[in-house]
Symmetry: D2
Subunit: 349 residues, 4 copies
């Protein structure tokens, strides 16, 4: 079996679990008042080239929903892509933690919010209208839920639009590392320097184990968020075991190496299948995911051949590359796709 | 330094971290659809001698708040001890996840709800009254937040009262293992057989690392709770790393050995300080905590001597024993208390 | 000026205010424990030919949101039309009072939910999936927000689909009277006999003043709803002044006469403009509203001629008839539309 | 029967209903965009000698809960009297609308918050602590729920303490008029000049019918509150019928005359029963309520004699005077109390 189902089906990077095990020494105050968590503040501040507050949380859903609750009032509207994970897959967690805030999909390509569509949407909002909520924030998913990546200029443009209307900017960085590896800029450039106020900093999908993080660039948000996290049951009493994971994740560039590896596997497959008849990528492969239209029969054949992946529709398959996908596994998928697409009629029977 | 601050300042049992590391092999479906989590259902069902649903969660606060939200409507009243952790220390998480439900303290001794006081409180509620909410559930903390333990008969009595009024029964078992070790009964006897519908099953305070669990005995609650947990950001995508911890925690009776060790340390200290003038336990030591009244000067002297503990008031100190407190450490505390209490006046200067 | 902006811009029927004034005599217990509110229970039970509980509330938004909160858990999905008032105009009140529940638009014509589209949507829901919430209820708007009316068979079909999946059925009857006048059936046939569990019973838009109501057909919902209403600040202490309005509203068929009058005005206009070039009704006129596509210039000319109405888009105008629109006013609108459409080019200049 | 049960059992002042009926003329835009509501802004701004925003709402519970939600974050703590209506009688509406905020009772006499007790409570809060929520606001009930009135200096002192800690100040003025009549100052002095940021402005208990109001002194709160009110179902579409009531309520000092009348009745009874053996007022009678301890037998005898009142405990009776209590009714109560207290032993048989 070769597993392309998700990046959350995979192993954790051994460095991260080793750090967790090493943290199991001596006693330490609970709820984040420990040396590991203090050090994490410094490491992330260095990484982002500004003083940040970083809060380990159990999941990306918690990171997203509590970030949005921190930047939008309960009657706020948060603009995002129709395809955004917060909109499609998190059971309205943002609406729950946000006390009733509402997500408003904005048009765009490849799972992204289009900046000008956002501007137009905001321009159409009537000031003082009380029937639909008030514009409060924008959320960008980087990389997008269709495997595309916002270029810096696009983030900055969204940031400008948001700021000009008094809106806050959130980035769902469940695959922040993959996007960063793609863009090749600094973490600062892809976040606060582009206007991001608060970042869901993903680790789990990129070799992490049991935690992600919220990175707060707008300092006035942090104290309230700390209480909200405590209330949300997202503050471990033995926090050191979470902080140690995150510290190891970014130490020595591990996170970027992991992301480069999964991106590279996706790129290798993309190159390999170029020109294969019957296959169509519905979005550019800019991170570690491929969304491939193909005949249903090809999907059947792939599954019979031991490939695991997610069927998004009868003719759309998603392949996600983990950091530990080997070249041989990538090449095996390419070969299988070529083989089955060469005989799609038969496979479909 | 000898640390008696809390059981969450301590290490995890190595067996638990070893299991976590061992789970880092191969791929597995996310969000609990993995073999570890499936096996956990079986292990806990065996442990509790009935078919249960067990949900790993990040923290005890999540376990408590989401359990209560599962058994009480948003306009419900949940009866608990004034001293209950859910009432004093969890930022109204129950009220938040419960959509506005309200905790109502009930009188009782030693951090426990008194069954007859509960009955009297319920008897005074006017049927149909709309101004204060409707009685919905009772929550017992076992062991209590003052280190006492409910005997089985008392839990059963509360269970009967609750059932007779249509109320559900929750148990906050952050220290369930310590209570079980004390009472010496089976997990089933101390939970569903005594009327408990849903249990916050603590592991962190007793040698766990990054997860606790909710154990559901009332099967009709489980499906809705599963969605609520997902929305709460309490369902890890790499769930196997949590389930593996919990499986190791109960495997071969580890959890009970750990609890017996911490209980024994507390008992050893209790015996050691019996009759020492100037010291007064405000509640019986039935688990792993001591709440000791003493002159402020004695507290100062202890701290100067390298002991760490929590000052609950100027004259009340809390000492919590972890599973790895040694006899020597226990004896050192006893000796120091004896020494300082023999000269309290001087210490207070 | 002739006002077609909304049915909420209009006067109250004098009978209703007279009843309110007559209620101002003697003393009466607060919060609904008065003779007027008790009598209201009987009157509505007679009207609906079954024992109902009726709760006066301040607004239709309160009626809708609290009805949905009563029939759906906080993690529930409520299916409705894209055009439904609860979806477009009530600031996510349903999501707020429902503790995070989410509205899911279902395809359909003329502002209605299509029963078969609903069935298909429900059939595609995976049992046990935790990422999107659980199907909980359906909400139909009768008359629809585009002025169309569900025939009885369609409501029954939706009711069957809902029941077969364990879902509850809500009807937003902000214009229940208009729909009833159109269909010509009994209130029972258009509600509980067709599967409706809970009804937002509108009065304000049809000659009421300061209250609407929730009518509960599923008795087990009523006690909890009563507490929720109290918490929502929707239980007047001097409830008699609300109950008296509702009693007068239905007494002697007043409500139906009012609805017949506004329906008749809309029908008169519809007949009058038949065949006028440049006008197109986007939905059948089955209640008291017309949604008319026309050139922007015609709208300008109408406004200059003293007509008030709501511009839904640059080429779509909404005209709402109140119960007190006169034949002369209706004919004046028809004449103006004919006149301006005969010379649309000039009007647009 | 002579009714002393509550001020909400009474009639509305005819002037208020007359105004409501007079508003039933012509058409007017919905949801507060009408001339009555615009004028109300001016009238209240004149009354309070500063530019205010005033929002009519259906009930005092709505006024309180939404005011608190406007000034406290969802993780906030709101300090109030143990006896405060928001704490005892509103089903945790503040916690519900506030998304989980928690009320914290503060010690004080006669249903009031003691300023120095508040200061001490706040001084004991540890900055940065995440386990209990963050201090956010104070709520004073004027007149108190035991019939006492805060003198201006006490409100100012609380206001200073609140401001010095960054807390907002809410006043529950369900009986604002009664307190104002007692203190004899201007509305401005008793509200924003003393530090009040937002006021629940009661009318119902003092001769109103179907609405109270929120008066916002901190302008930055108003726009968000407007949306919250819409979502809460507290914005009538035919708002003019509410605004007209409130305009009439304050026109020509009506509200103060009504309050003076009910206060005078309470004072007349207080004077009348002075020195009667067996009676004890548990709080000073400074508004329109008396809380009188008396033998249970006296209560029985009063009820048999046709007096209606509320039994707060077996030996505590509450008598509330409405604006239309006559001297004869007051004297009748005095006479009955004297008579029954002269023979309490017999009455108790």
């Amino acid at each position: 079996m070769i597993d392309y189902r998700s990046d959350n089906t995979g192993r954790a990077a051994p460095e991260i679990l080793n750090a967790l095990v090493r943290a199991n020494s001596g006693t330490a105050l609970g709820y984040g008042a420990d040396a590991w968590t203090a050090r994490l503040q410094d490491r992330f501040s260095e990484l982002f080239e500004t003083r940040v507050r970083v809060f380990p949380v159990a999941t990306g859903t918690a990171a997203n929903a509590l970030s949005l609750a921190a930047i939008a009032p309960s009657w706020g509207l948060v603009y995002c892509s129709e395809a955004a994970h917060i909109n499609t897959s998190e059971v309205n967690a943002a609406g729950f933690f946000g006390g009733g805030l509402k997500l408003v999909p904005v048009a765009g390509k490849d799972g992204r919010v289009d900046a000008e569509a956002l501007a137009a949407t905001l321009a159409a909002v009537q000031p003082g209208a009380i029937h639909r909520g008030q514009p409060a924030a924008v959320s960008l998913t980087q990389a997008s839920d269709l495997g595309a990546v916002y270029p810096l200029a696009e983030i900055r443009r969204v940031g400008e639009i948001a700021k000009s209307r008094g809106l806050k900017l959130h980035m769902d960085g469940a695959r922040f590392a993959n996007a960063l590896a793609r863009v090749g800029c600094s973490p600062a450039e892809m976040s606060w320097r582009a206007g991001v106020d608060i970042l869901s900093f993903g680790a789990t999908k990129n070799g992490g184990a049991l935690c992600d993080a919220i990175v707060v660039f707008a300092p006035e948000l942090a104290d309230g968020l700390a209480v909200q996290l405590r209330r949300a049951g997202q503050v471990w009493s033995k926090m050191r075991f979470a902080s140690a994971q995150l510290e190891a994740y970014i130490a020595g560039g591990l996170w970027l190496r992991l992301a480069q590896a999964s991106n590279a596997a996706a790129a290798r497959i993309t190159v390999g299948i170029a020109g294969v008849p019957g296959l169509r990528l519905i979005a550019p492969v800019e991170a570690n995911e491929l969304f491939l239209e193909m005949p249903a029969g090809v999907m059947d054949a792939l599954e019979q051949g031991g490939f695991q992946f997610y069927r998004r529709s009868p003719t759309l398959a998603r392949f996600v590359c983990r950091f530990d996908v080997t070249d041989a596994e990538a090449d095996a998928l390419v070969a299988a796709l070529k083989r089955h697409c060469a005989a799609p009629a038969r496979a479909a029977e």
